[in-house]
Amino acid sequence: MSCSTEVIQLMHKYLDEEITSEEESKLREHLNQCEECTQHFHELKKSIAFVQSTSHISAPSDFTMKVMQNLPKEKKVVRITRWLGSHPMITAASLFILLMTGSLFSVWEGNQEFSVSKQPNLVIENNTVIVPEGEVVKGDVLVRNGTLHIEGKVDGDVTVINGERYLAAAGEVSGEIKVIDEMFEWLWFQIKTTTKDALHLFDNDKNEAE
C-alpha cells in the first residue's frame, strides 16, 4: 500500500470514529511500516488535542442581565397575569373593587337629581350652572343632571355627568374637561376615581416604607 490519499482518508475516518475494524487493521498495518504516515497521523491527533485543550471561557457575569434589558417589550397580558400571581394582596383588593362596582349600579338609581359641587361664585339657574364671565372658580367643578356654561375661568377639572357643557369663547378651564352621559361611562369614572385614590394610598404607604 502506498502513502496515498487513501491512507489519509482512513485516518480521517478513524478520527470521525467511522472506521470499520477491517479498515482499522489496514491503517495500523500501514502505519507500522511507514514513518511518514505515522508522523502525519500523530500531527493530526496532536492538533485536535490542542484545539480541545483550549480552556472553556465563560460569558461575562452581567451577560443575562444585558440580554434581558435589550429584549423588546413583552405582551401586557402576560405581565399583568404574572404580576397578579405574585401580588395576591393587590389581586384580592382589585376583586373587592370589582364587587364594589356592583353596588355602584344601585347608587346610580338614586342619583337622578340635579346636583352641583359647592363653589361660592357659581351661578345656578334652574338646571343650568354658570361660571360667570370674569370670575375665577377655584377647585374642581362637578355638575350632575344639568348643563354647565363656562364663561369665566375654572381653576381645576370640570366633570359633567348626564348633562351638557358649553364653553364660551372667553371661558377657560385649567384642568381636564369630562362629559359623562352614559351609565357605563359614569361607572368607569367612578372606578377610575376609586382606583386613583387607592393608588395614592399605596404610594403613600410606599413613601412611608422608604
Binding site: I8, H12, L15, D16, H40, E43, L44, K46, S47, I48, F50, V51, Q52, S53, T54, S55, H56, I57, S58, A59, P60, F63, T64, K66, V67, M68, N70, L71, P72, E74, K75, V77, V78, R79, R82
Partner: protein
C-alpha cells in the same frame, strides 16, 4: 434538562419574558464560547452572543419544538458570527493583535498591574497560539472545527446547524484538521 427547556420555551412563546432569562443562563457560556472561538475577540463575541439571544427571543415562534433548541440557537449564533467575519469593521480593541508584532496585543502595551506566574503565562501563550491558528482557518472550516472540537457536537448536529449535508460537514472537518495539522505541527 430538555423538558425543562421545552417548558421554558412554551412560556416564552406565550410571552413570558422572565422564562427567557433561564434559557439565557443555561446557554450563555456555550454561545459566548462559540462566538469567541469564531471571532477571537471578547468584545465582538459578547456583542454577537447578545444579538443571538435577542434574535432567538424575537423569532421564538419560528422555532420547531420537535427539534433540539441548542441546535437552533447555535445556528443563529454561527450565522451571526460568520456575517460579522465577512463584514468585519476595522474597529480597535485592546485584545486585538498589534500589526507586525506576533502575539502582542494592546493589553501588553497597557501597564500590567498583576504579575502572572510563569507556568500560567506559558499556558496562556499556548492558548493564544491555538486560538490564533483557529482564526487563521477559512470561516467554513473554522465553524465546523469549533462546533466539532470545542462545542463537542455530533456530525448530525453540526450538519443541522450549518444546514449542510453530513458529507460536506465531514469534508470541511477533514480539511480543517489538515490545515490545523499544518499550522500546529511545530508547536
Amino acid at each position: 434538562m430538555e423538558t425543562l427547556i421545552k417548558n421554558r420555551i412554551s412560556q416564552v412563546k406565550k410571552g413570558d419574558q422572565n422564562a427567557f432569562a433561564e434559557i439565557v443562563e443555561i446557554y450563555k457560556d456555550k454561545v459566548y464560547q462559540l462566538c469567541y472561538r469564531m471571532l477571537g475577540n471578547r468584545h465582538e463575541a459578547e456583542d454577537i452572543a447578545q444579538e443571538a439571544f435577542i434574535r432567538a427571543y424575537v423569532n421564538i415562534h419560528s422555532y420547531d419544538m420537535n427539534r433540539k433548541f441548542a441546535t437552533w440557537l447555535y445556528r443563529i449564533a454561527t450565522n451571526l458570527s460568520i456575517d460579522r467575519i465577512r463584514k468585519k469593521k476595522p474597529d480597535f480593541y485592546l485584545d486585538a493583535e498589534v500589526a507586525g508584532a506576533e502575539g502582542l496585543t494592546l493589553y501588553s502595551q497597557v501597564a500590567a498591574d498583576v504579575e502572572l506566574p510563569e507556568d500560567q503565562v506559558e499556558s496562556l501563550e499556548l492558548q493564544a497560539t491555538i486560538q490564533k491558528e483557529i482564526l487563521k482557518l477559512p470561516e467554513k472550516y473554522r465553524s465546523a472545527i469549533v462546533l466539532k472540537y470545542i462545542e463537542e457536537l455530533s456530525l448530525k448536529e453540526i450538519s443541522e446547524i450549518l444546514e449542510l449535508p453530513i458529507g460536506t460537514v465531514k469534508t470541511r472537518i477533514h480539511r480543517g484538521r489538515e490545515a490545523l495539522r499544518h499550522q500546529l505541527r511545530h508547536v
